[in-house]
Amino acid sequence: MDAEPIIRVENVTAGYDDLVVLEDISFEVGRGEVFVILGGSGCGKSTLLNHMIGLIPPMAGRILIDGDDMVSADGDDRHRILKKIGVMFQTGALFGSMTLHENVRLGLEEFTDLPREAADLVTSMKLDMVGLREFGHHMPSEVSGGMQKRAAIARAMALDPQILFMDEPSAGLDPITSAELDDLVLSLARSLNMTFVIVTHELPSVNAVADRVIMLTEQDKGIVAEGTPADLERQTDNPLVWQFFHRKAGHAAGKTQGTIGATGQ
């Protein structure tokens, strides 16, 4: 990992309109790192991700992607920053009027000067990486939810971005595909030095891929724990983290307040 972090989140307060979801959080993601954001439902994981990919400007603080602030950038600058990132949305967000192949090829067509057959071959390779080479001619509505998700990953990877943001990549995938996806993430991170920011609930997946983990909670509106998956699993200071990593319901750790959002899901 390089000394210079590729993502720097500085004192960010995140939320929508008047609703503050996360307050004054700061962290850094190193180049080539697989960084996982953990937390129960409703703790603001996806909100944080939406801020990091520039969809929502933070209420306070700033987020730097490779040294650039996406909020203050506009026009060509913003475009240059956006080319460094790829995003896989929770629902896949594939364009329903295009086949899977066309979905993946879109970025290559628009932003590179690859000849048509080259774009087609690279697209097939991306689809092959997620095990969908044979399904390129299908429309998104004709394939299963898990396949849509994998196609969305292929689309996010099409331009080989430096950073790949993934919102719940393995939710809805079978364990085998999920493990294959973990291998893919590791292989891309190690061989092409891609940085991954992954929001997930899946503990096996976290243990398999994560270099570093932060855990958010609804109660603290911020980061409650940070470290490697092994660090977090061992730590006993915070009952929520313990419950999460040991898949215990809220009462198991003697909690009195509602912690439904923090039970291992």
């Binding site: 180049r31 329903g96 590179t112 690859l114 000849p115 080259a118 690279v122 390779m125 080989d160 092409l192």
Partner: protein, 381 residues
């Protein structure tokens, strides 16, 4: 990662002859999606022109290689496979080689599907006929189911979702008053004005009042109202039910043991049948007011206009028109709900259903109007 990989070194390709008919392709620099397009053209061009027996790819100078760069190496291998020459890749860094090695060449040999033989005219006519036939049968089935659901609702009126019906009546009826009045007045104005011009030649301008009253009350008032209902509310019904279909809400209703017909269609049809006559009355009134404006501007006194309008139409005409609009309301709401329930999957599906709802409504309205005209003529109404 090695720091030099981040350098923005210019990617280059040197194609040089080796021993015998060997072609050496020497790649250097950063092979990414920005630079690969150019090199791709150069490489494929060189392979085509030189027709080598053996190709050696010297990749030791490649600092960085993303998916596009790996695609280029794979393409050279595929060209070798197709052109019958051996390809050897030398010096590619192991981390890139590992990713490239994960792709089996045989998987990427393009298998073109056999071209489809064009359908013959007779086949196409047959296919279209089958589609139309299936659509007609689905409409008949739907009509039957709707009638059964309405009879059931009449037997158990407490089971009808009146709250939904009232909400739909408000949306389709009360909220449509503005546009109905506007179009009614304008239509009356246009009708009166365009018929006043030819009738002036015969000195019969005052009969414009009779003409407008008869045509509005008997035919045009209900018909325009039905068209507005189709455009405004029919499309909304189809879109609403279509979205529910896509979100599996209809499936959820069915598995909960609730009949979508009674639950969704019946309240909409009842609401439409209830508000349609009221809207038609409003169209008639607004149209007559519009016509009266024209006649007033031509110098006729209001009392004469009113007298002519009253004597031209009787209660039979009005009731006939209202009967038609009740049927039209049922047609528009029924067929729009049917189109909504027939929605398939995909983002364009709701749009297609909405279009089909409006088009089917208008076609059925014209057909029904034709049938009514003949029927009323035969019955002497």
């Amino acid at each position: 990662m090695a720091p030099e990989a981040l350098n923005q070194t210019e990617a280059t390709l040197l194609a040089e002859p080796g021993d015998g008919r060997t072609l050496v392709l020497r790649f250097t620099g950063r092979l990414d999606s920005r630079s690969t397009g150019r090199l791709w053209r150069q490489a494929t061009q060189a392979l085509k022109e030189r027709r080598p027996e053996r190709v050696v790819v010297e990749a030791a100078g490649v600092d960085y290689c993303d998916g596009s760069g790996l695609g280029l190496f794979l393409e050279i291998k595929l060209c070798g496979r197709a052109g019958g020459f051996a390809v050897e890749i030398r010096g590619l860094r192991p981390e890139f080689g590992q990713v490239l090695g994960a792709f089996a060449e045989s998987d990427f040999v393009i298998r073109r599907p056999p071209p489809k033989s064009p359908l013959r005219v007779a086949q196409e006519v047959g296919a279209v006929t089958a589609v139309v036939w299936r659509d007609l049968s689905s409409q008949v089935v739907f009509l039957g189911e709707l009638c059964a659901a309405l009879v059931k609702s009449a037997r158990h009126p407490r089971r009808v979702r009146w709250k939904d019906a009232v909400r739909v009546a408000e949306l389709a009826g009360a909220n449509a008053v503005g546009i109905i009045v506007l179009i009614g007045v304008l239509f009356g104005l246009i009708l009166a004005f365009s018929s006043a011009m030819p009738l002036r030649k015969f000195g019969a301008e005052i009969y414009v009042a009779d003409l407008v009253a008869i045509s509005l009350v008997r035919v045009l008032g209900p018909f325009i109202t039905a068209i507005i209902l189709a455009g405004r509310s029919g499309s909304a019904f189809a879109a609403e039910l279509g979205t529910m279909k896509i979100n599996s809400e209809i499936d959820a209703l069915t598995t909960m043991g609730l009949d979508p017909m009674s639950f969704l269609v019946v309240p909409r049809v009842l609401a439409a049948v209830f508000v349609a006559p009221l809207l038609a009355l409003l169209t008639n009134l607004a149209g007559l007011v519009g016509a009266a404006f024209v006649l007033l501007s031509l110098g006729f006194p209001l009392v004469a206009i009113r007298h002519h309008m009253q004597s031209a139409v009787d209660a039979g005409d009005l009731l006939g028109g209202l009967f038609k609009i009740v049927v039209y309301g049922a047609i528009v709401s029924g067929v729009s709900c049917l189109r909504g329930l027939q929605t398939r999957t995909g983002p364009s599906a709701v749009g297609i259903s909405t279009t089909r709802a409006v088009v089917s409504s208008i076609i059925l309205l014209v057909v029904a109007e034709g049938i009514f005209s003949v029927l009323f003529y035969c019955l002497g109404i």
